[in-house]
Symmetry: C2
Subunit: 225 residues, 2 copies
């Protein structure tokens, strides 16, 4: 499949690398490809610059948000939540129309420090904000409940864990579930319509505190039933 | 131990019954014992009236909130979240002072129908509201993340699942962990100070949607790591 991954951070890198490895044609979208490749400093979290990752993943193309989305059959929002709407506007509503839009972003607000709060929650969600802003896109929320390396390789935990999907379009949801299964997810729970993303986005507060209590991000939720 | 369980609903019944079975001296607290026992209709959720449960659990005493709390070494808040502060005021700050207060309540707001939203969240929690209102009580949040029958018998799921504790007082937290282990909980994660209850209270939105998607309340979170 032709897939655009919008965002060059850890999540974008993990998803783009894994999709390429699985044989998809992947274009990573960024604001300005030249300046993204020119950046030589670590990001705010201390991760290596995108150029270092890209040098090791030559098969993945880099383009503007709009060019990446234009050629894609499926688009992945791998941006920080506080930039998602702006970034998707740059990608262009026309380039998103009719396509599955896998939304991984979380509405984290770091303005008061750590742990962050959520800038939308409870009676609304970032996924629904995106859907309202781009009514012709087929938004599916998934993968926002675990760390990047486990998103694309859940089996590395050594035991089965759960991934959640929320979305209003059954065909788009099926396409996303197919990708999740190809990543190794063997317990996918379809929560229902996109409003159920309120539930998965509101997992972030306990996720952040679990990371503190356990001293690692290498964990995931399993729904035992 | 002498334990007061404040609340006569499904959670109060489950906790009180199990504690009594484990050999504790249990008093259930209610607003007006005579009228609680006189009620013959099912509650709003269709559950049998308290009197029916009490007839089968004669060893559990029933008293006013204040009388129940006065004689207790540990107090359990098993009320609905929207009544917790009022009910604890009836129990009396003096009767809570210096004691572990296990808070199971969730800040559910049903005023706009189902699924409920949360009336406090993200930058505060019900547990912290209770702690601020009763600074001499030693609030420990736990058990608010699963259905009543599993709170007291998690092994009935057939596989290990996780329970979370949050609290600022180490001794009170240890006492609660002891009770949880006696119920059969074999994976207790201490999230840290009471503010981490924001994380567990914010699990409710996905819990409610999982109940819808799975068609049962017989499930629990397991943190796979």
């Amino acid at each position: 499949m032709n897939i655009a991954v919008l965002g060059t951070g850890m999540v974008g890198q993990a998803i783009a690398g894994r999709l390429h490895e699985l044989g998809h044609s992947v274009v990573v979208g960024t604001r300005d490809p030249a300046s993204t490749l020119a950046r030589t400093e670590p990001d705010g979290m201390g991760n290596p610059p995108f150029a270092a990752w890209h040098a090791a993943h030559q098969g993945v193309a880099l383009a503007t948000f709009a060019d990446a989305a234009a050629g894609a059959e499926l688009v992945v929002n791998a941006s920080n939540g506080n930039t998602s709407l702006e970034l998707l506007r740059l990608a262009g509503a026309d380039n998103l129309a009719g396509k599955p839009l896998l939304d991984i972003a979380n509405p984290l607000d770091f303005s008061a420090g750590f742990p962050p709060t959520l800038f939308v929650k409870d009676s609304d969600s970032l996924a629904e904000q995106i859907q309202r802003a781009f009514p012709e896109a087929k938004v599916v929320k998934a993968l926002n409940t675990l760390t990047a390396s486990l998103m694309v390789d859940p089996k590395s935990l050594g035991a089965s864990s759960t991934i959640f999907v929320s979305g209003d379009d059954a065909v788009a949801k099926a396409a996303v579930v197919g990708l999740l299964e190809s990543f190794g997810h063997d317990d996918v729970i379809d929560l229902g319509p996109l409003e159920t993303a309120r539930g998965t986005e509101m997992l972030l507060p306990i996720w952040l505190r679990l990371m503190g209590a356990l001293g690692t991000a290498q964990f995931n939720f399993k729904i035992v039933r």
